[in-house]
């Protein structure tokens, strides 16, 4: 069902954990649908993502996409991180079963949500970066699809 890469990132997820006093935190998804992702960024004064951690409640694909997404944005500037798409995450994992594609969307949204949080705190405006709509604190009832 899953590629070897997905299984690898699921069984040995990279960057699991939390960052205290993180520069930016984003939580997306909702428990009703069975997927929640939270990403923490530690961003330095040059706007480079020095460290990244995640926690995910969800299926194998959700854990693997979170893990891969954190790997892809680590060491990147916030502007570069913004260009990491769900497609890139999926390709890096050698694909996902069709019913699991929404997990990769969630990973992209989690990155954006954490970047938004950082930008808000630091009064930065980036074109194309919008307020996360999928944040669990927003609307519990909102269905993803």
């Amino acid at each position: 069902m899953y590629s070897e890469k997905v299984m690898d990132h699921f069984t040995n997820p990279r960057n699991v954990g939390e960052i205290e006093n993180a520069s930016g935190v984003g939580t997306v998804g909702n428990a009703k649908c069975g997927d929640i992702m939270r990403i923490y960024f530690d961003i330095d004064e040059n706007q480079v993502i020095k460290d990244v951690k995640f926690k995910t409640f969800g299926c194998g694909a959700a854990v693997a996409t979170s893990s891969m997404a954190t790997e892809l944005v680590k060491g990147k500037t916030i502007y570069e991180a913004l260009t990491v798409t769900n497609k890139a995450v999926m390709e890096a994992l050698d694909g996902l079963p069709p019913v699991k594609v929404h997990c990769s969307l969630l990973a992209e949204e989690a990155i954006h949500a954490a970047l938004w949080d950082y930008c808000e705190k630091n009064d930065i405006k980036i074109e194309g970066l919008e307020k996360p709509k999928n944040d669990i604190s927003e609307d519990e009832e909102e269905e993803e699809y």
Partner: protein
């Protein structure tokens, strides 16, 4: 070559192909007996001659084939006895789903002149629920009864749901996900009192617990072979004598013309053998399975916090354990159990291919996030207490690991 050229593979061992194309033997712990079971070696042995030397069509006139006709009759009697039914009330089908389809569609059609209302429950198998939805599209009205927090049908609600135009009540004998056994006798009495047909999907219960169709006033009953160590592709529908159902599959005169098509003789022989063994060993098996079931439940609930048992604690199938672990998701749990060599199942959305978790777990009132974290383990008599110990240790480790990466658990711990 010996008389029996097919080697019977030892149960609990399976062969799988690795990338280097070599075959490797691997043993695993199978805890998904509600999904399917392995045919017993005795069952396979009984079936083998009917693939080859005894291949005759029971409808043919010559002696060679007439022997098979007699064999089918004998099997039918054996199965009828197991339910306290008559042999001409047993109609072989391709399995539980076909039996459910037949029962609902044929009863609806046959009694449409009397009324268009059907009563069933929210926790039925999809073979019933989707057939009921189909009947709704054909103009029938269906009431889906609620269940209580243990998954038991509310009899008061059933009584209130009955209308003059109600023609059929269909309630499963025992639930496939949470194992809850329904008050079938009481439901049968209510149906009888109101002159309404009563069907029960007994796919999970048949061979596990005693069933008497007369005592429970059952008019139709579905069962399947592969849930009780018989072959796949064979099942039956019990239809009480006198029920005026139309023929389901049109063709030859097989199954009293109601379900035409050459008999699946091998399947029938295997099914009857499995039934014979299941009923001979029921008491002993049930005791053993209940012991393992209770051990699993008690230890998991005692040793893993934020876990709850789904389904009734005692009115439950001997082989069923269904537990929800808060803050984690079922598919992750299943994959990790699989890697530890344990086969189980879950009611999470990710295992059903939709965004919604199991309709059964939602019907007993679980919130979505807790339903997503459910684990079903269904025991068989070949399982051992040593295996249960191993399984419990693995579950403890995996749940801890998954909770450590769960944002829900993190929030819960911070706020408590």
């Amino acid at each position: 070559m010996g008389k029996n050229p097919v080697r019977i593979v030892i149960y609990k061992k399976y062969l799988y192909r690795k990338e280097d194309k070599t075959m490797e033997e691997k043993s695993f712990i199978y805890l998904d007996h509600a999904a399917t079971t392995a045919a017993r070696p005795e069952v396979v042995e009984a079936m083998l001659p009917y693939f080859t030397e005894n291949f005759g069509n029971p409808s043919s006139v010559y002696t060679f084939s007439q022997k098979n006709k007699a064999v089918v009759t004998e099997c039918r009697e054996k199965i009828a006895d197991s339910l306290n039914a008559k042999s001409n009330e047993i109609y072989f089908t391709a399995g539980g789903t076909e039996s459910d389809n037949w029962a609902l569609k044929a009863a609806a059609e046959a009694y449409a002149s009397k009324g268009n209302h059907i009563i069933t429950t929210k926790i039925e198998h999809h073979a019933i629920l989707h057939t009921a939805k189909y009947l709704e599209s054909k103009g029938f009205e269906v009431t889906y009864l609620d269940v209580d927090e243990n998954g038991v049908v509310k009899l008061d609600q059933l009584r209130q749901a009955i209308r003059p135009e109600t023609i059929l009540i269909s309630v499963m004998f025992a639930n496939n996900e949470i194992g809850t056994i329904q008050p079938i006798k009481e439901i049968g009495e209510i149906a009888k009192k109101h002159g309404i047909l009563f069907h029960t999907d007994a796919v999970q219960a048949y061979g596990q617990i005693p069933i008497d169709v007369d005592e429970c006033h059952i008019d139709m009953l579905s069962a399947s072979g592969h849930k009780l160590n018989g072959p796949k592709g064979i099942g039956f529908l019990y239809i009480r004598t006198g029920l005026k159902l139309r023929n389901f599959v049109h063709g030859g005169a097989q199954e009293r013309s109601r379900r035409a098509g050459t008999e699946n003789v091998t399947g029938i022989v295997g099914f009857a053998k499995a039934v014979e063994i299941a009923f001979c060993t029921m008491e002993e098996r049930s005791q053993k399975e209940c012991m393992m079931r209770d051990y699993l439940i008690d230890r998991i609930l005692a040793e893993i916090p934020y876990a709850r048992l789904n389904g009734h604690r005692t009115k439950r199938l001997p082989n069923n354990v269904n537990i929800s672990f808060q803050f984690i998701e079922g598919e992750s749990l299943l994959i990790m159990l699989d890697m530890a060599g344990i086969c189980a199942s879950s009611g999470s959305a990710c295992t059903s291919g939709s965004l919604d978790p199991s309709h059964v777990l939602l019907a007993i009132g679980l919130p979505h996030e807790i339903a997503h974290g459910s684990l079903r383990m269904t025991i068989g008599d070949e399982n051992t207490m040593e295996e249960m110990d191993y399984v419990i240790e693995q579950i403890k480790e995996i749940v801890t690991k998954l909770r450590a990466m769960s944002p829900l658990y993190e929030d819960f711990m911070k706020h408590s």
